[in-house]
Amino acid sequence: MDYEIVIGLEVHLQLNTKSKVFCGCSTNFGSAPNTQVCPVCLGFPGSLPVLNRRALELGAKVSIALNCQIAEKIRFDRKNYFYPDLPKDYQISQFDQPLAQHGILTIITGEAEKNIRIRRVHLEEDTGKLFHQKDSSLIDFNRCGIPLLEIVSEPDMNSPEEAYLYLTALKSILEYIDVSDCNMEEGSLRCDANISLRKKADKELGTKTEIKNMNSFKGVKAALEYETKRQMDLLEDGKRIAQETRLYNTEKGVTEPMRSKEEAHDYRYFPEPDLAPFNFEKSFLKAIERDIPELPEPKKNRFIKDYLLSGYDAGIIVSDKNTADYFEKCASLYSNPKTIANWLIGDISAYMKDNNVSIKDLNLKESYLSGMLKMIDNGVITGKIAKTLLIEAIQTGKDPEKLVKENGLEQISDVKLLEAATSQVIAENPKSTEDFKNGKDNAIMFLMGKVMQKTKGRANPNKVNEMLREKLKGAR
């Protein structure tokens, strides 16, 4: 039977403010337990929260970047539940009047664009962290009160792949606007997924499960793939899906029920009386809007139009803001953007991947790359030399032009110098010469390779090709 998969995602994002959302404590990651705490974030009796305006600013920035409608009035609510990682036994959050609603995030599936609706974005405080030991539990309250932005999508994704694309697109935007480290391993970005299946013709949604505990985007995809299959198998067998929360077990690659019975929570939300509601000033929002850079989607379209890049190339380049900036700087120095894109997507991205560095930390000035590309165009170096030259330039941080001079890497186009090499190669490779004479045009490539070997890659390939053909012409 044909099923439609329905997925909605809930992302929790730690905003990269210097201090916590309701007190002045540092948000630094990895400090010794309970060293970044005060009476406010520890929920001591008599302490009161005071909103960190920066957290609100960053939250508004995300909301605008996700094309949301921002609430006119900012109000917080208390979400009441007992748990030891929650010192006040309520969380300051936003309930029926979230910071923003009704947004759109565009993802690219194959060649098509798809709009995923954002249901709501709201600001809340993070909880502490529990460490369970054999017969006791310890609490680290450092994380308590770090500003969290919850971004909830509508159930608009129809495959685990789309969920993955949503997360990558979201992360890309969040990095563009510089609001979070977006690090799933450190927990600065967390994601829960809701998934259900229904028959293609059905109008009603099927029973959903909530999947937690995924610690990478690939993990989200894998968990959803597993869960799709699990639900499908149950439905095929005529069984029912239990509405429950399931944890993804990364090692086993399976989802497992978190609780045998889902407890019905009544969070008794009510307006937080310690934080007076206030209206967003228009000027405040305008300032935030001005602060948002060109986002990946419009940038991609501009790159396609202005630099004549393919959609694929543009998509890869704009997915990281620094790469896009790097590309544009190079393009201002060098006239063939397509070539820049090829190098960025090819050799440079391979190097970054192998050495686990980002373009920001890459020791290659934009002027160095564009200078090197110009040398290729002007016949100063061969493309082959350029590949090794690039690595050397990155490793030494030196200007490729300087390296070419220092190491004598200029291309050899001088006919006299190439004369000897080509003659020698012809003499040394009678079989290939014979093959060529017998009409096997490919043999010329072998001979060219040999000439390159002899000149350590410096020979001008066009010249060599020309000369070899000239010399073997009579014989053919």
Binding site: F44, G46, S47, N80, F82, P273, D274
Partner: protein, 486 residues
């Protein structure tokens, strides 16, 4: 003033004068207070925590010099729900047994900055839940005018201590009348400031949208001095208002000729003691003699105030008191088997009956399925109550009512009947719901020699006017000078 006069019987402004003349020293005041406490406290039980050695030490450690603050050397008692660094602050609850806050409330910081001497903590209804100071885990405080009777509540300890001269003055807190009602029942002055006038930082919350710290004093001038000392915007409390603080002490001395005072008919209903009604009427006559224009007015939603209050206040309290869970501070039950067991046993052992009743009531009011019918509706009626006042204050400069429908009642008389007890606050609750300032001043006595209080309500942030009316009335009467015979 003769030197054999007991200093503990004086007001703060009288002591400030004597201190500035160099006639007495802070230690002299402290000693007289200690003597009084040693003689009287056993029968009163007004204090929750008092250590005379510490009090003397604080006195001795006062900095001398030209920059002596306004309250330099003046001793003050603090209600047990206001945080004092490294000193027991327990809300008279077993669940905060042994709790010493790591910081001072903003009001305490402000008092210490101007040289006030912290003496100790006063008894109160547990978490300020009550109108009689009978729900304290330290036992009930007794009314100095009749030891068989309650002092009112929840700031009953502060009011009794001031009335009995164990204290010069004290801080209380008022969520639904907890400063004004005990002030009325003990024959002293109590003032609940406008919501936002005094920082709540460090006040252990009962109902965050209603709570205010305020002065309990022997006369109006002291109330003006103490209010100024603790008022003002505080960055640590985003509900505190950034509105300038007046010089109350000098403004009170202007006359009240031509001031318009409203008398709401809803406050003279059946159930108000006749002696109380008569005293208030005489007081109104006195105000007219002083030149005020008193006219009848109406506050039509008054009858809903108690119901609204017991939904809003308990809802907030149920959430505010969740943190007393045995995890970080205060009581943790012994012999616990699990996390849930810890929560349940700790809260069962730690909270008294009234606290439990209010937590349950508030939890219910916020529960899904009941929220709209109770909490949400209560908020709407709260707005109507506030609008009643807005409308009345378009015409009047202040409103005058009885503070409490009756004078003090017997210990044990109402404790087992919560609804009757809740009605003790029927006239004070509206001011908290509307956020407006209100005060109670002595205005007479019953035949049984129990004090009666006059409540004066004012416009938001216009404490000046109610203090001025109170001061003018006080200057033309002698009620505040009467002392209980102990």
């Amino acid at each position: 003033m003769t030197m054999n006069m007991k200093l503990n019987t004086l007001t703060a402004h009288e002591l400030i004068d004597l201190l500035s003349k160099g006639d007495i020293s802070p230690i002299d005041i402290c000693n007289d207070i200690i003597n009084r406490i040693e003689k009287q406290e056993k029968s009163l039980n007004a204090l929750a925590h008092f250590d005379k050695e510490k009090a003397l030490e604080r006195c001795k450690n006062l900095k001398e010099g030209v920059n002596k603050g306004k309250l330099w050397g003046i001793p003050i008692f603090i209600k047990d729900n206001i945080s004092v660094k490294d000193e027991l602050t327990t809300c008279s609850s077993k669940i905060l047994k042994g709790f010493k806050p790591p910081y001072n409330a903003t009001a305490i910081e402000k008092l210490m900055d101007i040289g006030a001497v912290l003496m100790g903590k006063t008894n109160m209804d547990e978490f300020a839940f009550g109108s009689s100071t009978e729900t304290s885990c330290y036992g009930p405080t007794r009314n100095p005018w009749d030891l068989e009777r309650i002092p009112g509540g929840s700031s009953g300890g502060s009011a009794a201590a001031v009335s009995a001269d164990e204290a010069i003055f004290a801080l209380g807190s008022d969520t639904g009348g907890s400063i004004r009602q005990p002030a009325s029942l003990c024959g002293v002055v109590g003032l609940k400031p406008t919501y936002g006038r005094v920082s709540r930082y460090g006040l252990i919350a009962f109902a965050s949208s209603l709570d205010q710290i305020g002065p309990i004093t022997k006369d109006v001038e002291d109330a003006a001095i103490l209010l100024k000392a603790i008022s003002g915007h505080d960055e640590m409390d985003s509900t505190s208002a950034d509105i300038p603080v007046s010089d109350y002490s000098s403004n009170i001395k202007k006359g009240i000729k031509g001031l318009k005072i409203g008398i709401p008919k809803e406050y003279f209903i059946e159930g108000v003691d006749k002696e109380v009604k008569d005293s208030i009427k005489l007081a109104i006559g006195e105000l007219e003699k002083l030149g005020a224009v008193c006219e009848d007015t109406c506050l039509p939603h008054t009858e809903y105030a108690v119901s609204v209050y017991y939904l809003v206040a308990t809802a907030e309290a149920s959430s505010n008191l969740a943190r007393f869970d045995g995890v970080q501070y205060g009581l943790r039950a012994e012999n616990i088997t699990s996390m849930m067991d810890m929560y349940k046993k700790t809260r069962k052992e730690g909270f008294g009956d009234e606290a439990k009743r209010r937590i349950i009531l508030g939890t219910f009011a916020l529960s899904s399925g009941y929220y709209d019918a109770y909490y949400s509706k209560a908020l709407k009626v709260r707005t109507l109550i506030k609008m009643d006042f807005d409308k009345a204050f378009e015409k009047f400069d202040a409103i005058v009512t009885p503070t409490s429908p009756t004078a003090s009642f017997k210990i044990g008389e109402k404790i087992s009947d919560p609804l009757t007890m809740y009605l003790s606050d029927i006239f004070t609750i509206s001011a908290n719901l509307a956020g407006i300032p209100g005060m109670s001043i002595p205005c007479g006595f019953t035949k049984a020699n129990l004090p009666i209080g006059l409540q004066i309500l004012g416009k938001p942030f216009d404490e000046d006017t109610i203090l001025r009316i109170a001061y003018n009335y006080e200057q033309s009467t002698e009620w505040h000078k009467k002392k209980p015979k102990l």
